[in-house]
């Protein structure tokens, strides 16, 4: 085991320390900028919504139907049948 004071005098310790400090700073800066961007995003979108109002795109709406699996269809058929029976009663 190397004496900690001797270790701190070595080149690898100097290089390691500078990499560790720089690395920690880079990670912190990157995530802070992402955090600031996220915080500003609703405001930016608020301004953008005045110019381009948000609406569900045709493709997005279509993809919802693509996502229906056979179980969904069975479920919808069951709901439809239940509604039909309800209307029949009235």
């Amino acid at each position: 085991m190397v004496d900690p004071f001797v270790f701190l005098m070595t080149d690898s310790a100097h290089r390691g320390l500078s990499i560790a400090v720089a690395g920690m700073l880079i990670v912190a800066v990157a995530l802070t900028v992402i955090s600031l961007f996220i915080a500003a995003l609703p405001k930016l979108l608020g301004y953008a919504a005045k110019v381009w109002p948000e609406s569900e795109s045709h493709r997005a709406a279509a993809s919802h139907h693509e996502r229906l699996d056979p179980h969904d269809e069975v479920l919808y058929a069951a709901i439809g049948y239940a509604l039909y029976l309800k209307h029949q009663k009235h």
Partner: protein
């Protein structure tokens, strides 16, 4: 009789070493932990079985181990090709760093960044927990590892198995087995390692803090985030482009709403296939002669330390933030900054509910948890770029 004696020499019993036997026992222990204790079974079962397979002594001259790579040789002016073992072709995905980005694609396709988008200050906890990576890096240098080896060992503190494998494949391939096993073992042991640190560094009053429920996040925010966050992170740290590119690509597949089939494949079949291949081949790479060394013990020690430091880093930074915030953060949430998704968030929920059964911290903990994934990928990118 001679035939039986010759046959005996070819059996695993005759060439089994004490190290092989120990590694087989470790493999079986992993499988047992996964089945009995439910510790990361999706990883520990393939790794454990891989360790058992990889430690059956190999018959001389037969190409069976993960290290029996294919080769080209010039013999008498002619190029001769020797094929590698089947396991070596599977291990190719690990040694060349192909599997980790594919796993990141699947993680991206299953990750919901909503809680992080609804409370952006929690992102900072994901950054604070990366202190575990860099302090472990320094600790490894102190113990005599080279800078590259120390970089690969340090990333265990990111608590992210694929990132650890990716970086060690690039910086210290000879330590890959030990680093991967350490990273995944400690990820499996998150429910054991984290709670004592969490209780030690927080008061009961702090553990009882309730946080405001997260706000609703619009579809547009979710769609814009992966592209914007990728640009920000990789323009600052270009070394993270592979891992973060795949992570945010996967998330864009999920959030764009027009590629649901691709997202579904990425988060189910694809990630499962890659996990099986990665886990099994990493396990098979832990052959006794390459794995049972004093270096591996030091890596395990440093790995445990890195998890503790990373957990403490997130917790203490949450307490520091509370000095300036009017709406206090429950400091337990900081422990989820170590990434290990979603286990560390679950541990936060569990420890929080031990104090107050009606306090639901899981959603809040997911924010630093996914920020930790981004943070550890950036840390890996930084280490890879400065330690070429």
């Amino acid at each position: 009789m001679d035939i039986f004696l010759e046959f005996w020499k070819t059996t695993g019993f005759s060439s089994m070493t004490f190290g092989n036997a120990i590694m087989i026992v470790i493999g079986i222990a992993f499988i047992t932990l996964a089945i009995k204790k439910d510790y990361e079974p999706l990883l520990l079962v393939p790794i454990g079985m891989g360790a058992v397979v990889g430690n059956i002594p190999i018959i001389e001259g037969m190409s069976l181990s993960v290290y029996d790579m294919h080769s080209w040789q010039l013999i008498d002016g002619q190029i001769e090709y020797t094929p590698g073992s089947v396991l070596s072709y599977i291990y190719f995905g690990v040694s060349w760093g192909l599997f980790p980005p594919l796993i990141f694609l699947g993680i991206g396709a299953m990750t919901d960044f909503s809680t992080m988008l609804s409370n952006p200050k929690l992102v900072l906890l994901g950054a604070a927990a990366q202190v575990g990576v860099f302090l472990t890096f320094l600790g490894a240098i102190y113990l005599g590892f080279s800078l590259k080896e120390a970089g690969a060992i340090g990333i265990i503190g990111g608590a992210d198995g694929p990132t650890a494998i990716f970086l060690s494949a690039k910086l210290a391939p000879h330590l890959l087995g030990a680093i991967a096993i350490a990273a995944y073992s400690y990820m499996a042991l998150v429910p054991v390692i984290q709670p004592p640190v969490m209780r030690l560094l927080t008061t009961r009053k702090e553990r009882l803090i309730r946080m405001k429920p997260p706000r609703n996040v619009s579809k547009r925010e979710k769609m814009i985030f992966p592209v914007a966050a990728f640009l920000i992170a990789t323009l600052i740290a270009p070394g993270a482009v592979v891992l973060l590119g795949m992570l945010f690509f996967g998330n864009l597949l999920k959030e764009s709403l027009v590629t649901e089939r691709l997202a579904n494949t990425a988060r189910t079949a694809m990630i499962d296939i890659v996990t099986i291949l990665l886990g099994f081949s990493v396990g098979a790479s832990t052959q006794a002669e390459t794995f049972l060394r004093p270096q591996s013990l030091m890596i395990f020690g440093l790995g445990a330390l890195s998890f503790v430091v990373a957990t403490a880093g997130g917790l203490l930074f949450a307490k520091f933030m509370n000095l300036f915030l009017s709406e206090k953060i429950n400091p337990l949430v900081g422990a989820a900054g170590v990434s290990a998704v979603p286990d560390s968030a679950r541990v936060v929920q569990m420890v929080g509910q031990q104090e107050d059964p009606h306090n639901f911290l899981l959603m809040h903990a997911m924010a630093p948890n996914v920020a930790g994934v981004i943070g550890s990928a950036i840390a890996a990118g930084v280490l890879w770029s400065v330690l070429p």
